[in-house]
């Protein structure tokens, strides 16, 4: 059973990059372009990991994290936020809303996979 990752970002490039990178590492990836869409996908499909941008139209990432944490199915699901260096305050707000961790953009695919594998291990036995 491949692990399902839902990635929420208003930038198509980021969505596609995340998708291609994680697919290449063996994850199944669904994408959404804003928080609203992301939430509705999460409601219909249980994700093993949610990766969300913070600055998005309609529903931003922090609201999305908060809304997901209210759902029993997502109470303990790892959620990573995509941030830039300059968003220290957003990072704190995201953590407060229940985010598991963050990935700083721009990211290097190998490092990105490493972080994702860390919070959402893909297979057994778990290696590093």
């Amino acid at each position: 059973m491949p692990k399902t990752v839902i990635t929420v970002d208003d930038s198509m490039s980021i969505r596609e990059t995340v998708k291609m990178t994680l697919q290449s590492a063996g994850y199944q990836v669904l994408t959404a372009e804003d928080g609203n869409r992301g939430l509705s996908i999460c409601l219909t499909q249980k994700a093993d990991l949610v990766i969300t941008d913070l600055n998005m139209p309609n529903m931003d990432g922090i609201t999305l994290i908060g809304r997901l944490r209210e759902l029993p199915a997502y109470k303990f699901t790892p959620i990573l936020m995509l941030t830039t260096e300059s968003q220290e305050d957003k990072k704190v707000a995201g953590k407060k809303a229940g985010a598991t961790g963050w990935i700083i953009k721009p990211f290097d695919p190998a490092r990105f996979i490493a972080v994702v594998k860390k919070v959402c291990p893909i297979g057994e036995p778990v290696l590093v």
Partner: protein
């Protein structure tokens, strides 16, 4: 194995597409901002577009773009926070920056970077607007000498609420060096008091590592605020570390594996990456290095090791998972392969299909091909229906299949056409910039108003509309709208208004370009037309007719040939282009009040819903959308009307046109003819035919070059039985009939 190059290539391509949308949005937001410099929403939009361009650019392999835009983003971030006032200079320079980025992305040569370099002056101006900021300092790395640390990691009770598994930090510590981890359970309550959603465990970890304390803190970065973390370095004489030996290989009989892989300088440069590999290998079993690289850089190059482990190949491959370019080849050695089960197939790079796509970008030629194929399918469908009809008694199975085919092909057609429909708003948005730049050049104040941006039109149509619209907009700006002083003298508002609007009416879309300028000068047009021999000096045309003269080839009214219009491309070209799209162009003007040019275009170029009629044995199709009803016309009625060619429809006298007369068919007319009542520009008109045959879905084929001057037919279609039916262009038909003024066609148009 993961092909990073390929990912990068595809990413760059996707980014180029996205960037063009973002740049369009950026430009639109900037122009909105120019209209209202304090508009927080517009500032936000500029910032967001800039931010996404920068962020996506860096991720998609355009690091220099990201660097380039970084400061511009800073400026708008400062504007968001009220630290910087948006000035016309900022907007102007940002537009220049946006232009440079557009050119940069379009340039796939090595010179692309130069474009950004050349735009540096704009950046400098923008930077000058930014409040001074302090530079950040880099942390110096510490030398690598193995040190020992004792770490106490006590997560807060609610750790699990952030979806965090404390185990991952322990794993990360193991990657840093040699560890001895003790789980402490003293805070665990009695079972009845235990809340399974809380974390009661804490850990003490002794770690021997070449890293420093900040590397250890980095491991816990995600839970910095969710745990108590105590790290202190152990002196050499403190209690010795009870370092555990690597996990012993599991019970099943071990196999012998031969692994070839390579380490690149890049992977060696990444901290901890290669160490984690050796650690993972140690966990899998015992390994022996058979061959190590002898190149100039230590460790970089080809490796061959042997590994004894009971685990299977995918598990071994997992040890290499972080070193993406290691390209490991894992083989079981002959001695053990013979006695063991067949090796497990290698794990595919990707498991599971992508289940969901929000949008998909498809090359338009693929869709064009699809439309053509669907067109052919629709024709074939008609042929099947026609064949069934000639059979008379059709087997039920064939009848069902034929009906199913009808239903499916209709739906397929609708879906495919819908795919090609695009809102016209994007086209309109391009004009904001054009109007801004041109009005500045001309020293005129012009406001562009757009309406009906959501109106959808066929993509092909939109593409081909762009040039004619540019021409019309330029004309309005150049000739139509007056300079400010002239407007004020005429008692008009300072700012001229240029209006672009779109509206769907039935199966047509109206696009109106209008201005509140000085209007057309009929006298001037008349003089010019006579000068150029386009109008006899003695003619006394109506004002409306004079206006139509500007659509004649070789007509230009500009007193001086300005840099904007009057470059030899006249309104005749615009008219021809619109007509090629099966559209029509209509012009109205009031002196001193302005000019309005209306384009009427079909929704799509490919397929129309038609009404099939016959005249003298030939079949014709007219667009169903304009047909309202059909009534009967007896010979007696016709004779009674005494050649006036009107028929009474519920008290209204409706003029009609007999195709028989118009086309000069001399065969005997049936006793009972049919009048198709059509609605054109809010007027009812009748088209008299012999017979109305019914609805017909029609794939339009253009008549081709040889017959391009024929205006009464907009195209032709192939019928189910292989015959060709001509498609009537009703508006042009009426114009033609009016011009003919033949006996019996006394239609007042």
């Amino acid at each position: 194995m993961i092909d990073l190059d390929d990912i990068q290539r595809r990413t760059r391509e996707v980014f180029r597409q996205e960037a063009s949308d973002l740049l369009a949005e950026l430009e639109a937001a900037l122009l909105d901002l120019e209209a209202a410099p304090a508009n927080a929403d517009a500032i936000n939009r500029v910032f967001r577009a800039m931010h996404t361009l920068k962020g996506s650019g860096a991720t998609s392999g355009f690091p220099e773009l990201s660097q380039f835009l970084h400061h511009v983003e800073d400026v708008f971030n400062a504007a968001r926070e009220g630290r910087v006032q948006v000035s016309p200079t900022i907007i102007d320079r940002t537009l220049k920056v946006s232009d440079a980025v557009t050119r940069y992305l379009a340039d796939t040569t090595d010179r692309a970077r130069d474009i950004l370099t050349q735009a540096q002056p704009h950046l400098d101006v923008l930077l000058a607007h930014l409040p001074q900021k302090t530079a950040t300092t880099n942390q110096a790395a510490t030398a690598a000498q193995e040190k020992r640390f004792r770490i106490h990691f006590r997560p807060h009770r609610q750790l699990f609420q952030t979806g965090t598994d404390p185990g991952v930090f322990l794993d990360d510590l193991r990657a840093l060096g040699t560890t001895n981890i003790t789980g402490l359970t003293d805070e665990l309550p009695d079972l009845d008091a235990l809340d399974p959603e809380q974390c009661y465990l804490h850990w003490q970890i002794d770690l021997a590592t070449t890293g420093n304390e900040s590397a250890i803190r980095e491991v816990f970065a995600f839970v910095e605020d969710d745990c108590d973390l105590d790290i202190h370095a152990l002196d050499a004489d403190e209690a010795p570390l009870g370092i555990a030996s690597p996990i012993a290989a599991p019970q099943p009989p071990p196999g012998e594996w031969l692994i070839d892989f390579k380490l690149t300088p890049q992977s060696l440069a990444a901290p901890g990456l290669v160490d984690s590999l050796w650690l993972n290998l140690a966990k899998l079993g015992s390994h022996r290095v058979l061959q190590s690289p002898a190149g100039p850089t230590p460790q970089a190059g080809d490796w061959r090791i042997s590994l004894t482990t009971a685990l299977d190949e995918p598990t071994i491959a997992d040890a290499f998972v972080f070193i993406l370019d290691a390209a490991p080849v894992i083989r079981r050695t002959a001695s053990t392969a013979a006695s063991s089960a067949p090796p497990t197939p290698p794990r595919p790079a990707t498991t599971g299909a992508p289940a969901h796509n929000d949008t998909l970008r498809v090359a338009s030629e693929k869709i064009d091909r699809l439309v053509n194929l669907v067109g052919e399918l629709v024709i074939l469908r008609s042929q099947v229906t026609a064949a069934c009809d000639t059979l008379g008694q059709v087997p039920p199975a064939l009848q069902n299949a034929s009906e199913g085919l009808l239903r499916l092909s209709t739906e397929l057609r609708d879906v495919v056409l819908q795919v090609r429909m695009m809102p016209i708003g994007e086209t309109f948005n391009k004009f904001k910039r054009l109007v801004r730049d041109l009005s500045r050049d001309l020293g005129k104040e012009v406001e562009l108003v757009t309406e009906g941006a959501e109106t959808e039109l066929d993509k092909t149509m939109l593409d081909q509309l762009n040039d004619p619209l540019v021409h019309l907009v330029r004309n309005s700006l150049d000739h139509g709208l007056e300079p400010t002083d002239e407007r004020l003298a005429a008692g008009k508002p300072r700012r001229g208004t240029l209006r672009l609007s779109a509206e769907q009416r039935g199966d047509r879309v109206w696009i109106v370009v209008s201005d509140d300028g000085r209007g057309l000068n009929a006298q001037k047009i008349r003089t010019k037309a006579i000068e150029r021999g386009l109008l006899p000096a003695t003619a006394t045309p109506s004002t409306q007719e004079i206006y139509q003269l500007i659509f004649l080839p070789g007509f230009s009214t500009a007193d001086t040939v300005s840099q904007l219009s009057g470059r030899g491309v006249g309104m005749d070209v615009v008219k021809r282009r619109i007509e090629l799209l099966r559209g029509s162009i209509d012009l109205q003007s009031a002196p001193g009040r302005g000019t309005e040019i209306r384009l009427s275009l079909p929704l799509t170029l490919a397929i129309i819903e038609g009404l099939m009629v016959s005249v003298d044995g030939d079949r014709y199709i007219m667009p169903l959308s304009i047909a309202r009803e059909t009534i009967e016309l007896t010979r007696a009625q016709r004779q009674r009307a005494n050649g006036r060619n009107v028929v009474e429809l519920r008290g209204e006298l409706v003029p009609y046109l007999r195709l028989r007369d118009l086309f000069g068919f001399t065969g005997p007319a049936p006793e009972l003819e049919r009048v198709v009542i059509v609605e054109l520009e809010d007027r009812h008109l009748g088209i008299v035919v012999d017979e109305v045959l019914g609805n017909h879905q029609t794939v339009l084929k253009s008549l081709g070059w040889l017959t391009r001057h024929i205006q009464v037919f907009s195209g032709a279609t192939v019928l189910g039985d292989g015959h060709v039916a001509l498609i009537l262009d009703v508006p042009n038909l009426l114009t033609y009939a009016g011009r003919q003024k033949t006996a019996g066609v006394g239609l007042e148009i």
